[in-house]
Amino acid sequence: MKLSGGDMLMRALREEGVKFIFGYPGGAALHIYDAIFNQKKIEHILVRHEQGATHAADGYARATGKPGVVIVTSGPGATNAITGLATAYMDSIPLVVISGQVASHLIGTDSFQETDMIGVSRPIVKHSYIVQKTEDIPAIINEAFHIATTGRPGPVVIDIPKDITAPENKFEYKKPAKVSLRSYQPKIHPHPGQIKKAAKAILSSERPVIYAGGGAIMGNASTQLKALNKILNIPVTNTLMGLGVYPANDKHFMGMLGMHGTYQANMAMHNADLILAIGARFDDRITNTPSKFAPDARIIHIDVDPASISKIINADIPIVGQVKESLDALIKEIKRSKIKIDSEAVSKWNDQIKAWTAMHGLDHEMYLKKSKSKLIMPQEVVQQVYRVTKGDAYVTSDVGQHQMFAAQYYHFNKPRRWINSGGLGTMGFGLPSAMGVKLAFPNKEVVCITGEGSIQMCIQELSTCLQYGLPVKIININNQALGMVRQWQDMNYSGRYAASTYEESLPDFVKLAEAYGHKGFKVTQRNKLGPTLEKAFALKDQLVFVDVYVDQSEHVYPMLVSPNGSMQDMWLSRGKKT
């Protein structure tokens, strides 16, 4: 049977196992939308802004490990998708973003709603295609999914001129052969010689640390990581992107490291004699000043992307390969090795970390303590959410102080539960990404921990949540200011709050939620926080917006001292340095 380009596209997406498309129609995409209408297998989710579509697809991808799919129209539809593409690119999230383009004969004529999407998106995609022949659609879709999901994952853009999907032009649908690209063959298995070297280095170390990042989650290596540390019993820290890949409740877990990492995690990194980096990329929010990074440590770096290795910090033992396969090989080698780790030295090292934790570790039970202040501390909000959701929710977040508090105080014991924009730091990510997660897991609790700044960047998606019945819970940590900006202004600009407050212009979020057809609660008193959250989470079938007014003056600590600091140089509280 012959198919139009639009129908081919839908069939090709179906063959990739796509269940949801997040999108927004428009002129150049209308043939495609007609093809969406004419089929039943894939559900289209109409967002209220294309940024929401990309973040929702991104949240879906992070939670499931499957690629997220987006369809937008040309011009403004395409450019609105750019922030979401950049977000996914920075965090290596598999997305396939299909953009309608003006008809082939109009390209380059500055026609209505024309934007060079391939050009605009070039630096923030793993790859991109412009479809030139309708018959190519099945093969391009197939290749795009292959590229988005293999190696170091990332977003792929497919730009389709309108004439390519015209209903009157029909072609035979040729099922594409298995993708084989001479120019793209990501490495899967690590070099055995490197694995041997790594095993030897680990087993000869006395102060080793495992530093695991988002790559370990993307590479589905949580089981391997736990198995490895069953043998080694050494301290583990996760990056912001890696939280959950190693269980937070394990005795060897030190919490997050880096800019707002725990005291013990940062101290351990600085004083380690060996760092085993797994799917992490030594970004500037981790290392602080690179020349002062972990002066005594030998570095083993496992990554599927060779360009991530020795980019910032030179790796003594680079291992290129899939994280899962590399850890399997490493475990095997360690078990086989005649050298045994010096358990006495390691136990001394573990004691040192316990001592650091006791000295300046985070207080995870602030909410239980009596305090003279009636003000709610933002950390308590996260702790209460953790308590009420029994630590088993999918938590999405936006960007700023609330994001760091969520990362510090919600203990993630499973991978893919913590969904946030780590690399790009995109405000507005939280709500739409929560929609994607909720669609993937309708029976799971999905919480968006956000702030009154971030939530307003994609607040329009409250309408989408009503249309598709997505009862996510939104916890708005409201400090009536752009908290992280304000913190920096406190610390570096003598408290001159340039454009970080709203005066009296904040909306009534309860009314706003109600206007969108949802439920809203406002909390201003400490003793009401727990009960209100319990009430909110008991409303299973409703989106509830809980607006919690918190202490405006609170800062996120610890915080690495920069510029020129090392990882052991931290602000521990206001005015107090290590």
């Binding site: 391939i118 070039r122 412009i130 001479r182 120019s183 060779p306 360009a307 020795s310």
Partner: protein, 162 residues
């Protein structure tokens, strides 16, 4: 330090833009660029000259390799290699052709044209040779110059082929 990078790139829409864009995105400069299809025409060979420390160049090469359309990349400066550039130079009419021919002889130089309007010569050589020649010709008032950018090839058995 100057580096000569050679790469094989799929002849697909936008492939060259990805390579060129990458240099800018990662904060590196392209000093010269040469590109043309080779073999069956399904891919092109690019030669890029750039400057950078060893670790910077290693990072550029890794990033280039990450581009989906890149088949292979090599740093020719790592070993013995041939580097050649073609230049066309236009100067004012030359009365004494023998002296010019003498100057350009070692660079496979040819006088393509010499009349009242101008004298056009072609030369091939390393970038340094051509730089030097241009310095010499400066006295004769250069009207226009065009250079192909370096192309390069491993000298030894080492190859960059599919």
């Amino acid at each position: 330090m100057k580096r000569v990078l050679a790469m094989l790139v799929e002849n697909k829409p936008g492939a060259l833009a990805r390579v060129v864009g990458l240099f800018h995105q990662r904060g590196y400069n392209i000093e010269s660029l040469n590109v043309a299809p080779v073999d069956d025409g399904s891919y092109s060979r690019l030669t890029v000259t750039t400057r950078g420390t060893e670790s910077a160049v290693e990072q550029i090469m890794k990033q280039i390799n990450k581009l989906i359309d890149i088949i292979k990349v090599a740093d020719l400066t790592e070993g013995e290699h041939h580097e050649l550039e073609l230049a066309l130079i236009k100067i004012a009419k030359v009365n004494d052709l023998t002296s010019i021919k003498k100057i350009i002889k070692s660079m496979n130089g040819k006088v393509l044209k010499n009349d009242e309007s101008a004298c056009v010569i072609s030369v091939t050589g390393t970038s340094i040779d051509i730089n030097n020649l241009l310095k010499v010709l400066k006295k004769k008032k250069i009207i226009e110059t065009v250079r192909s950018g370096s192309i390069g090839l491993h000298e030894s058995k080492k190859t960059l082929t599919i």
